[in-house]
């Protein structure tokens, strides 16, 4: 099986879906000439032409509106926002229009639109280019929110998102584009709304999203040496949430840690935590713990941003707290 990067996996998904259906097109800032900021569409302009790969001006509202209008006319747009921070300009179209028209048409209108972007810290871009804003979308009825964490997942999920008839907010992480993994050459799809157990374990369930999944796995590795067996669940789709996989796991382990890069307050991590409390109360040995970024703007600097977001060490620390294991390192944050 070939080993490819996360970015290459995205490109394969684009290519397969654009070949399959001429109505699929990608539109966004520098998706053509540059092949997107992290090179996930390089060469596709030459391959598919400007009808399917559209470089757009820096006009996020127009890009999003163009997605809504063209989806209305039977096309299948993928509208890309270079940084999730810029999506604030497009929120009106996403929230007030894309998410509403299926209902306002009593189901007659379908808006198959992928709203694709990348977020998160880790590339020293400070507070207007590093945010984790997924919580905004989870709270809007009518939207599906996806956050892939691996090359294998991003390809299968993106293909499903493109084929889905709902508006799907598809949020990548800027630190994942160069991660490598074996990805099959034959076609596969990963269903939206289905979580993945990234590591099985018996003592603690760690629910982690996006970039945090890899840190959770690193932490699980460290903790295994200390005799703590962690199950790591990646929900992949934040909403609709695969509650079943989470519930099953926590019923087994009796302890649960939720890890997100977004701050905890008012966020999806609270939703995930509530799901566990509502369904696993009698099995829980302790209340669910959340380990999320400090509620701050992401600071600039070579290393500072890593200190405000969870990492492998701090996740391990949070698990030790849950399991009453002795702390081997100071907790951050």
């Amino acid at each position: 099986m070939p080993v490819i990067t996360f970015g290459e996996a995205i490109k394969q998904a684009y290519r397969e879906e654009m070949q399959r259906d001429k109505n699929v097109f990608l539109m966004g800032e520098d998706v053509g000439r540059w092949g997107s900021l992290y090179r996930s569409s390089t060469g596709l302009l030459e391959e598919f032409g400007s009808e399917q790969i559209k470089d757009a001006p820096i006009s996020e509202a127009a890009i999003a509106g163009c997605g809504v209008g063209s989806a209305l006319m039977g096309m299948r747009p993928i509208v890309e926002f270079m940084y999730i921070d810029f999506i604030s300009i497009a929120m009106d179209q996403i929230v007030n229009h894309a998410a509403k028209w299926h209902q306002l048409s009593n189901g007659k209108i379908k808006l198959p639109m992928v709203i694709k972007t990348q977020g998160g810290a880790g590339r020293r871009n400070s507070s207007q280019h590093s945010q984790s804003l997924e919580n905004w979308f989870v709270n809007v009825p009518g939207l599906i929110t996806v956050m892939p964490s691996t090359p294998y997942d991003v390809k299968g999920l993106l293909k499903s998102a493109i084929r889905n008839d709902n508006p799907v907010v598809f949020i990548e992480h800027k630190c994942l584009y160069f991660d490598k993994q074996e990805v099959p050459e034959e076609e596969y799809l990963i269903p939206l709304g289905k979580a993945d157990v990234k590591r099985t374990g018996d003592n603690v369930t760690i629910i982690a999203t996006s970039w945090m999944v890899s840190f959770a796995l690193q932490a699980a590795e460290t903790l295994a040496d200390e005799g703590i067996s962690c199950e790591v669940i990646d929900p992949r789709t934040l909403w609709p949430l695969d509650k079943e996989t989470i519930i099953q796991s926590v019923k087994k382990t009796g302890l649960c840690l939720v890890v997100t890069e977004a701050p905890a307050e008012g966020g999806w991590s609270g939703e995930a935590s509530s799901v566990v409390h509502e369904h696993c109360f009698s099995e829980l040995k302790k209340p669910v713990k959340r380990h999320c970024s400090i509620r701050t703007g992401i600071p600039y600097g070579a290393t500072l941003e890593r200190e405000v977001i969870p990492g492998a060490e701090s996740i391990a620390g949070a698990v030790r707290e849950l399991t009453n294991a002795p702390s081997s390192s100071p907790l951050t944050p």
Partner: protein
């Protein structure tokens, strides 16, 4: 003017004027629930522009959409009962008077000012890519011309030469903000220069001018000469909504003066000059009244949506048997 007589246009405007009046009465009786945005004085733009489209063209409207909708091909039954929140409405009574969609008649409106311009670019882009000669018409007001969406959409439509006609219905006010104070240019049409488009401003109270301009721009757009921005200058005779504090932004004298040049007065004067008999024009009222009385009697009998209907189509479930409101 595509064979439509001034008398026909007058009759269509009269119908819309009376339709607006009926809606205001229903609003006063609390049978229309959201704020009602009256359309009196703006019928020439609706009839002239929206009425000039082909059935397969797409029309996008605003928070003041009802006469655009009717002139553009939606039924009065569907538009009125949408405002009244009944299942027979365009959106099954779930949208109300400011946001509804009628895909069968290619009509869409929304209540966020300026949002429909970017959507129009997407509609037009798809039309162009699909190789059709359909056009998209996007109605908006003077207020919307101050939004970022206006400028983003104009630029995009212009660089991609999209088959869209942006119609700025300048009615003098954005809510309580007079256009002279809140728009930095004298003519909104002059904003087209920034996008290298023709500068077109017309008398929006002259229904013949509106229709002639619409016919011309639609034809040119079908030939690939779009996009176009056209400003139709009219006047909002009523408040932004029924019962707004009008004295905070204009005088009664101003309104009285403007009433002398509203579209129905203008068309009627011209028809009389051309030799039409006044009695013939007055005779148009009877059948319209009968039609609207019947409409109103029918409308109040229509059912309201149930909670199940209201939450049935929030999204398309991922798996069979899953509820749609998660």
């Amino acid at each position: 003017m595509s064979g439509v007589s001034l008398k026909n246009l007058y009759e269509e405007m009269l119908l819309l004027r009376r339709f607006d009046k009926l809606s205001m009465r229903l609003k006063m009786k609390d049978l229309i629930y959201s704020g009602y945005h009256p359309t009196e004085g703006q019928e020439a733009v609706a009839v002239g522009f929206c009425g000039a489209l082909r059935d397969d063209d797409v029309l996008l409207s605003t928070h003041r959409p009802h006469i655009h909708a009717v002139a553009g091909g939606c039924t009065m039954e569907a538009v009125l009962t949408e405002m009244m929140g009944r299942t027979t409405g365009c959106s099954g009574g779930l949208g109300g008077g400011m946001q509804y969609v009628d895909p069968e008649h290619n009509f869409y409106c929304g209540s966020v000012v300026g949002s429909n311009l970017p959507i129009a670019t997407g509609v037009a882009m798809a039309m162009k890519q699909q190789g059709s000669d359909r056009v998209c018409m996007c109605m908006f007001g003077d207020g919307a011309s101050n939004t970022g969406s206006f400028h983003e959409a104009l630029n995009l439509a212009a660089i991609w030469k999209l088959p869209v006609i942006f119609v700025c219905e300048n009615n003098g006010f954005a809510e309580a903000m007079p256009v002279e104070e809140f728009v930095a240019c004298k003519r909104i049409s002059s904003r087209s220069r920034a996008y290298d488009l023709e500068e077109i401003s017309i008398d929006g109270n002259d229904v013949e001018a509106c229709r002639a301009t619409a016919d011309d721009l639609i034809e040119r757009t079908r030939k690939g000469e779009g996009p176009f921005l056209v400003e139709a200058v009219t006047y909002r005779i009523r408040g932004h909504y029924v019962g707004d504090p009008e004295k905070t932004y204009r005088t009664k004298d101003e309104v009285a003066e403007k009433k002398q040049e509203e579209p129905l007065v203008r068309a009627r004067e011209r028809l009389l000059e051309q030799g039409t008999d006044a009695a013939e024009l007055d005779a148009l009222e009877g059948p319209i009244k009968e039609r609207l009385d019947a409409l109103s009697e029918w409308a109040v009998e229509q059912p309201f949506p149930t909670l199940e209907q209201a939450i049935d189509n929030v999204y398309i479930p991922l798996t069979e048997g899953e509820v749609a409101c998660r």
